[in-house]
Amino acid sequence: MAAIDIKALQKRYGDVRAVDDLDLTVEDGEIYGFLGPNGAGKSTTIDCLLGYATPTSGTIEVLDYDAIEESVALRQHVGVLPEDLSMYDRLTARKHVQFAIDVKDVDDDPEALLERVGLQDAIDRKAGGFSTGMSQRLALAMALVGEPELLVLDEPTSGLDPNGARELREIIREENERGATVFFSSHIMEQVEAVCDRVGIMKSGTMVAEDDVAGLRAAAGGGSTLIVTLQQPADGLTATIHGRDDVTSVQADGTSLSISLEKNARKTAIIGAIEDEGYSIEDFRTQEASLEDIFASYTEGAA
């Protein structure tokens, strides 16, 4: 069963197509990272998913509910951490969580939930004095109420320090092990890499790539680069190396060669080939493409 099944989703604001013909499927039990730069349409997609906004066209099925027509019934089974949220200044953290417990009509313990998100020292403090990170943690506690089948977290790491982000990932893993499907968005690749089974990258309202992290790495250009330093100028070598099947591109810079490798390329074979051409190798090293490079390759221009 698919936890989320979005088909041909379109959302227009006037002339602007915030989401344009989006298809997206999240399998039951999966942790799905929804990536894209700000303004790519992630939040609009989530707004349509949760009933905050009405799609212009398309269908959204979530946990077998029609997310547009049956939004209220659906939200009984979903834990939501919205973007750009704010809390009730005059109510305590406990009152907030208790409110979610009352509305969902479940038996959770507000203290246990607040301890879980690291707010044990602020249980009876009013949310008006909370930092962004603390509000984010409180919203997460509210999202966890009632052991939801699906967690929808929109930019959950904003306002969290690295330690908070790590704790968040831990909670996401725990919830997933309990059986929850997790759908979370971010504009930072590293946030999703550590926990996600699958990643979708949005750009200008459409999905430009969808795979696991390793697959994205491969698809975005093999992932690794071999950098070789020669004892003589490297210009004459580029054509030969570029002709190889296991090389995607070559750049020469004085005596140094940057060779982008295909997924299954064997470095020793390439080094052997260079030596066969009569060049002496002084040094070589490999460089993994950073996740940010992969992300950029999809979301900036050329992809």
Binding site: R75, E83, S86, V103, K104
Partner: protein
């Protein structure tokens, strides 16, 4: 979701939240000063005994008509739009609540707030009257309580309807101020102006039926007539005299019609507000 209805949760939470607000303290302060001053004025100018009590009670009608709509509007106009601007509405509607739960819950929560403040301060004034004059015009005070309660709930409903209809606090403020100006301060003059234009003369007696109908739709008029109907108190039917002596008066000259008018003032604005809020992208 088998427990209590969603609007009840929203109303409770809204009550808890606004009960701690400085706005509410301000509203209670204004009502308290009003109630104490009006109760004490006859005593201060030398009227005592039952004359004083009668005088004091008579003083209440006009200030209720002027202050309560404004206070109710202040309590209501930010109720929803502020949550929309801050983003707390996204937390609220991330839970299994309908948008109608939010509108209804807010109307009930804030109505309780202002009616509660009205009751407490009105009682203080009444007790003060009893202390100063030895008697109280009970019926009259109860009638003013009804008028105040009607105006509170009507204007809370109108203000929350405005709050649900627009996307920014500025728009809500502009709209509610315009509504207050027209309904509270200009309405009767507008109707009389219309009569002047149509009939060619100013008149406060034997006004034509259409003017009678328009005047009977004024929330303040409806509140006064409802109170008069319930307590046969000397609150005065504002339409009495205006309508003339004709035996053929239209049905809306009868006092009971005040009740459907009040219901319409609560339901129609809220229906419009809910319609606009219901299809808004948050």
């Amino acid at each position: 979701m088998s427990g209590q209805p969603g609007w009840l949760h929203v109303a409770k939470k809204d009550l808890q939240d606004s009960a701690r607000s400085k706005l509410l303290l301000g509203v209670i302060g204004v009502l308290l000063v009003l109630s104490v001053v009006l109760s004490a004025v006859p005593y201060l100018v030398g009227d005592t005994g039952s004359d004083g009590a009668e005088f004091a009670a008579a003083l209440f009608q006009t200030p209720i008509g002027i202050f309560l709509p404004v206070l109710a509007a202040m309590i209501g106009y930010m109720a929803i739009v502020q949550e929309r601007e801050s983003g707390s509405i996204r937390v609220l509607l991330g839970l299994p609540l309908r948008r109608s739960d939010v509108v209804v819950g807010k109307v009930i929560g804030r109505s309780i707030v202002i009616v509660g403040a009205l009751l407490v301060t009105g009682l203080i004034g009444t007790v003060l009257m009893f202390a100063l004059y030895g008697s109280v015009e009970w019926q009259q005070m109860a009638a003013f309580g009804i008028l105040g309660g009607v105006l509170s709930v009507v204007y809370v409903a109108v203000a929350i309807a405005v709050s649900a209809s627009v996307s920014s606090r500025g728009k809500a403020m502009g709209l509610i101020v315009a509504i207050l100006l027209v309904l509270v301060y200009a309405y009767q003059y507008l109707v009389l102006g219309l009569v002047r234009i149509v009939e060619g003369s100013w008149t406060l007696e034997n006004v034509p039926d259409y003017a009678l109908l328009l005047l009977s739709l004024d929330p303040n008029v409806a509140g006064s007539r409802a109170a008069g109907y319930l307590f046969s108190a000397d609150i005065g039917d504002p339409l009495e005299g205006v309508a003339g002596e004709s035996a053929q008066l239209p049905f809306y000259a009868e006092q009971w019609t005040a009740f459907p008018v009040i219901v319409l003032w609560i339901v129609v604005p809220l229906a419009i507000g809910y319609y606009r809020f219901g299809k808004a992208d948050l």
